[in-house]
C-alpha cells in the first residue's frame, strides 16, 4: 500500500465503522525495508478522518512519510470529533519491517481533535522525525507500546519526543504493569505536554518506563523524562498509593544544563499547577529528579516546598514539611544520590509538620533517603520536588548513654532557643572522636553561619549559637536548618527561632 498519490489507506466519514486494517505494509516496498511513501504534503500512511469509529488498525508496517513541510505528514492519523473508539495495535510505525533501521514518518501517530481512541498494545513507534505520538485530542489511551526503541526494547531509534500531548483526559500507561509504555531513547523528551487551554488537562501517566531498555539498561531520553508544560494542570504521574508509579531514569543527558526526570512548569503564568507525582522510581537523571522550574515567576506546582529529611537510618527516617502545606502525604524514597530510585512508602505524621517513616525493608547504609510531599498548597493539591538527600546511617545511632558513660550512638539535638536572645544550645553526641562540620542554613538554603568544623571528642559536646549570622547580625525569627556532616554521613535538624 505504497506510492499512492493520497493516503495509503483512508477511512472517512461518520458511519464508516468497524473496519479492520491489519498486517499491511504502508509506505514501503514489499520487503518492508525501502521507502516508497504515499501521498503529498499533509498526507500519509493510514488516515481515519471525520468519523470512523470502532476500527482496528493492527499489525501494519507504516513508514516513510517523513516530509515536514508544508504540513507534517504522518504514519497514522485520526482526525475530528466523531473519529472515536478506534484501536491501533501491534503496528510498527517509523522503522523497517525488522525494526532494525529507521524509515521515518514525520509524526508517527497523530490524533487531532478526535476522542476515545486507543494506541496499544504492541505498537513500536520509533525513529520518526517529529513526535512518536502527538495527541492533539482528548480522552485517549496509550498503553503497552515501545516508543523510541526497536521491538525488543533494546536499541534506540528515537523520535524527536516520544509522546507529545496537547489534549486532556488521556491515560499514558495504565493501572497494570503490562499497561505501561516503554518510552526511551527519544531525542528530546520521553513525554511532554504543552499548549492545552481548556483546564484541567487530567493526564494520567502510570506504570511507564521512561529512559530504560526493556532489560533495565540505561536508554535515556535526551532532554528529560516527562515535561508537564504550558497550561497543563491536575495531571498525575504515578499515584500516592504505590500502585502505578513509573520508572523514570537516565534522562536529560543531552540537555546542556542537565535535564530532569520530571519537569513541571513552562509558562510565566500561574498555570502549571495541581500536578501530583507519586510512587515513581526516579533516578540517575542528569538534572533533578523532579524540577518545579523554581526560577520562573510562576513555578510549577506553585513551588510547593520540598520536605526536609532530618534523619535517616536503616530503621527509620524523620523529617518535616512546611506548615503551609495541609492534607499532606509524604512519600519516602531511597536513592544512590539525590532522587528517588525506590519508593519505600508513605510516612506517618507525628505532628502537623513532623513525619516519620519506619522502613520495613532496611535501606543500605550509605544510600540516601529523600522525600516528596503532596498536599494542599496555594490553590491546589500538588507535589514538591525531592527533598535534600540524607545519607542512611546504621540503625541505632540515636543517643543513649552506655555503661561507660559515653553515648552508644551518634545524635544531634537542639535545645529550645532562648525566647529573647536567640541563644541556642546544640548538642552533638558521639561514641568516638569524630570530625564534624556543623553549619546552619535558612530555609532557602543560604548559609547563615559555620558553627563548628573540626574533631569533637567522644561523648557529648554542647555548642552555643547566639542567634547571629556570620556577619554578626541578629537573624530573624523563623525556621533554620542545622546540618552535621561527619564520617558516618549527614544529619539535619530543624531549629525554630522565636524572638
Amino acid at each position: 500500500m505504497s506510492a499512492n498519490g493520497g493516503d495509503g489507506i483512508l477511512l472517512q466519514d461518520l458511519g464508516t465503522d468497524h473496519h479492520v486494517v491489519e498486517l499491511n505494509r504502508v509506505g514501503t516496498d514489499a520487503t518492508g525495508r525501502v521507502d516508497l511513501d504515499n501521498g503529498a504534503a499533509g498526507e500519509g500512511g493510514i488516515f481515519l478522518d471525520d468519523g470512523p469509529q470502532y476500527c482496528v488498525v493492527d499489525g501494519n508496517l507504516v513508514a516513510g512519510h517523513a516530509d515536514a513541510v508544508p504540513s507534517g505528514r504522518y504514519g497514522i492519523r485520526l482526525r475530528n470529533d466523531n473519529t472515536m473508539y478506534n484501536r491501533l495495535s501491534n503496528n510498527v510505525v517509523g522503522l523497517d519491517v525488522d525494526t532494525a533501521a529507521s524509515l521515518p514518518n514525520h509524526y508517527g501517530v497523530y490524533f487531532e481533535n478526535c476522542v476515545f481512541d486507543t494506541v496499544g498494545p504492541g505498537n513500536v513507534i520509533s525513529g520518526n522525525t517529529s513526535y512518536g505520538i502527538l495527541l492533539a485530542g482528548s480522552s485517549h489511551f496509550v498503553f503497552g507500546n515501545r516508543i523510541g526503541t526497536d521491538s525488543a526494547g533494546l536499541v534506540a531509534f528515537g523520535n524527536q519526543s516520544g509522546i507529545y500531548i496537547e489534549g486532556a483526559y488521556c491515560m499514558i500507561g495504565g493501572p497494570a504493569i503490562t499497561d505501561g509504555n516503554l518510552v526511551s531513547g527519544n531525542d528530546e523528551w520521553g513525554i511532554e505536554m504543552h499548549n492545552w487551554t481548556s483546564f484541567p488537562s487530567d493526564i494520567l501517566v502510570q506504570n511507564n518506563v521512561v529512559g530504560e531498555t526493556a532489560a533495565g539498561g540505561a536508554m535515556g531520553n535526551g532532554s528529560g523524562g516527562i515535561w508537564i508544560g504550558q497550561d497543563f494542570q491536575f495531571n498525575e504521574i504515578g499515584d500516592l498509593s504505590g500502585a502505578t508509579g513509573n520508572r523514570i531514569a537516565n534522562n536529560g543527558y543531552t540537555s546542556p544544563s542537565g535535564g530532569p526526570g520530571i519537569l513541571v512548569g513552562e509558562d510565566d503564568w500561574p498555570c502549571e499547577l495541581g500536578n501530583i507525582i507519586g510512587s515513581n522510581s526516579i533516578t540517575a537523571n542528569a538534572g533533578k529528579g523532579i524540577e518545579l522550574s523554581l526560577a520562573l515567576a510562576y513555578p510549577g506546582n506553585e513551588a510547593i516546598p520540598a520536605p526536609y529529611v532530618t534523619s535517616a537510618t536503616t530503621a527509620a527516617a524523620q523529617g518535616t514539611i512546611d506548615a503551609a502545606i495541609t492534607a499532606a502525604v509524604v512519600q519516602v524514597f531511597v536513592d544512590p544520590a539525590d532522587e528517588g530510585a525506590e519508593y519505600m512508602g508513605n510516612a506517618s505524621f507525628t505532628s502537623a509538620t513532623d513525619w516519620e517513616f519506619v522502613f520495613t525493608t532496611p535501606p543500605v547504609v550509605g544510600q540516601y533517603v529523600t522525600a516528596t510531599v503532596t498536599g494542599t498548597f496555594g490553590t491546589a493539591d500538588q507535589t514538591s520536588e525531592f527533598s535534600t538527600a540524607v545519607v542512611v546511617s546504621p540503625a541505632g545511632t540515636d543517643v543513649a548513654e552506655g555503661a561507660t558513660g559515653r553515648p552508644e550512638r551518634l545524635e544531634l539535638t537542639v535545645e529550645a532557643p532562648g525566647s529573647s536572645s536567640g541563644e541556642t544550645t546544640i548538642r552533638f553526641s558521639t561514641p568516638v572522636p569524630m570530625h564534624v562540620r556543623l553549619h546552619l542554613y535558612d530555609v532557602t538554603g543560604r548559609l547563615v553561619c559555620r558553627l563548628r568544623e573540626g574533631v569533637l571528642p567522644a561523648g557529648t559536646t554542647d555548642i552555643q549559637w547566639d542567634g547571629r549570622d556570620a556577619a554578626g547580625h541578629t537573624v530573624a525569627s523563623g525556621v533554620y536548618l542545622l546540618e552535621a556532616v561527619h564520617a558516618e554521613g549527614r544529619q539535619v535538624r530543624k531549629l525554630t527561632l522565636v524572638r
Partner: protein, 386 residues
C-alpha cells in the same frame, strides 16, 4: 475440388468433440440459398441431435445477412469457422449485419458451439438466450472468434442461461459492452487457464465485461457463480499496450432485487479502461471474489496503464465481497480500492499489492489513496496488502 477439401478437413479434425452427427458444409458466402450458413443452420435445427456445420476449406470472405440467422435451437449444433482456410489461425469467414438491429448468432439450445468466425455490425454479435453448456470460441488459437464493430459483443441472458463457456473470443471495438451477462446467467465460464482460453474484451464503448443483475421482465433471477478468468480487459492481446474500454473494465451490478453474487473474477488483466477497473455496485452484489488480477498495469505488472477512475470500486451497498488475494492494483487515476457508502459492509481487501509494481519494488502509485473507505460503509477489512 471443394468436396475433397471438405473430406480432408473432416479427417483431420475427426470430430473431436463427438458432436459431428450430421455434417453440413457451407460452400457459399451468400446470405441464403443452397449450401449457405443460413440453410445449414435450418437443416441442423431440423436434424435432431448433434450436427456440425463446417466451411469449405477454401472459403473465405464475408457473409452479409439481410435478416437474422435462424436461432440455434437444436441441442448440439456446432459451427466450426476454422475449417475455412484451415492453415490460417485467424477467422476467414466474417458474418456481417446487413442492417440495423440484428443479432449475429442466437443460441437457445444446449451444447452448441460457435467458433472460428468473425462477427461485425450487429446489434448483438452472439447471444445465448437461456441456453446451457454452449461454447463460444475454443481452446486452440484457430477457434477464436473475432467480434468487432457491433453493439454488444456477446450476451448471456435469461432463465437457465447456465454453464456456457466463452473461450478465446477477441471482442473489441464494439459500441456497447464487450461481454454482457444479464439476469439468468449462472455458472458460466468466461475465459480459462489454457493458453488460448482467455478472452480479450478491449476498446469497447461500454464495459469490458458486464455482470448485470438489473431487474428484468424475465423475473427475479440472478447473475451468479460465473467464472471470469484470465481475460484481457482494456489491453491488447499481448498485454503490453493500452486499449481501454469506455466504461468499467469488469462491472458487477445489482440495482434491484436480483442478485449479482458468488462470481469469481480472477487472474484478469484489467487496465486502461475509462472508468473503474472493476466495479461492484448495488446492495445485492455480494459474495463475489476478485483475485489475482492486475488492475491498472501491463501484463508483467511493470508499467502503468491505469484505469480512469478507481482500480476497484464498491458502492451502493455491495457487501461481503473479497478483493484479493494476489491482486495488483496500481497506477489507477483515483484510488486503488474504494468502498463507498452505507451498506458496503464486510468486504475484504486482502493480500494485494496496491501502488507498487508486481515485484513490490517500484512506484506505480494510484492517484489518490491506496484504499479508501468512506460514507458509512462498515466492517470492511484491509489485510496483508502492500
Amino acid at each position: 475440388m471443394r468436396r475433397s477439401g471438405v473430406f480432408l478437413v473432416l479427417l483431420a479434425l475427426g470430430c473431436p468433440d463427438g458432436a459431428c452427427g450430421d455434417t453440413f458444409v457451407v460452400t457459399s458466402l451468400a446470405d441464403a440459398g443452397l449450401s449457405t450458413l443460413r440453410a445449414h443452420i435450418t437443416a441442423a435445427n431440423d436434424s435432431a441431435g448433434p450436427d456440425t456445420i463446417l466451411f469449405a476449406n477454401t472459403l473465405s470472405g464475408t457473409i452479409t445477412l439481410t435478416s437474422d440467422l435462424p436461432t440455434l435451437s437444436d441441442n448440439g449444433t456446432h459451427i466450426w469457422g476454422e475449417t475455412a482456410v484451415p492453415d490460417d489461425p485467424m477467422p476467414d469467414i466474417e458474418i456481417a449485419a446487413g442492417g440495423p438491429g440484428m443479432t449475429g448468432m442466437l443460441l437457445m439450445g444446449a451444447q452448441c458451439m460457435v467458433r472460428g468466425l468473425e462477427f461485425t455490425g450487429f446489434d448483438t454479435a452472439i447471444s445465448i438466450l437461456g441456453g446451457q453448456s454452449n461454447t463460444i470460441g475454443g481452446a486452440v488459437q484457430a477457434h477464436q472468434n473475432i467480434i468487432t464493430g457491433n453493439g454488444t459483443g456477446i450476451l448471456l441472458y435469461a432463465v437457465d442461461c447456465e454453464a456456457n463457456i466463452l473461450y478465446n473470443n477477441l471482442v473489441h471495438g464494439n459500441t456497447g459492452d464487450g461481454i454482457h451477462l444479464r439476469v439468468g446467467a449462472v455458472g458460466n465460464i468466461v475465459g480459462g487457464s489454457c493458453a488460448f482460453c482467455r478472452n480479450l474484451s478491449s476498446n469497447n464503448g461500454g464495459h469490458g465485461i458486464h455482470l448485470d443483475a438489473t431487474p428484468d421482465p424475465v423475473g427475479t433471477i440472478h447473475v451468479s457463480r460465473n467464472w471470469i478468468h484470465r481475460n484481457i480487459v482494456g489491453m491488447t492481446l499481448d498485454g503490453l499496450t493500452g486499449w481501454g474500454n469506455g466504461l468499467t473494465g469488469i462491472h458487477l451490478q445489482a440495482p434491484g432485487s436480483s442478485t449479482c453474487d458468488s462470481n469469481q473474477v480472477f487472474s484478469n488483466l484489467v487496465s486502461d479502461n475509462g472508468g473503474h477497473g472493476i466495479a461492484l455496485i448495488g446492495q445485492n452484489v455480494f459474495g463475489n471474489a476478485v483475485a489475482d488480477c492486475k488492475i491498472g498495469t501491463d501484463r508483467p505488472g511493470a508499467a502503468a496503464f491505469g484505469n480512469g477512475f478507481d482500480g476497484v470500486h464498491l458502492r451502493n451497498g455491495a457487501h461481503d465481497n473479497v478483493i484479493g488475494p494476489g491482486s495488483l492494483v496500481s497506477a489507477n487515476q483515483r484510488n486503488g480500492v474504494r468502498v463507498d457508502g452505507a451498506g458496503c459492509d464486510r468486504n475484504l481487501v486482502v493480500e494485494s499489492t496496491i501502488g507498487l509494481d508486481l515485484t513490490g519494488t517500484y512506484d506505480l502509485g494510484n492517484g489518490s489513496s491506496g484504499v479508501y473507505f468512506l460514507n458509512g460503509c462498515s466492517e470492511d477489512t484491509v489485510r496483508n496488502a502492500w
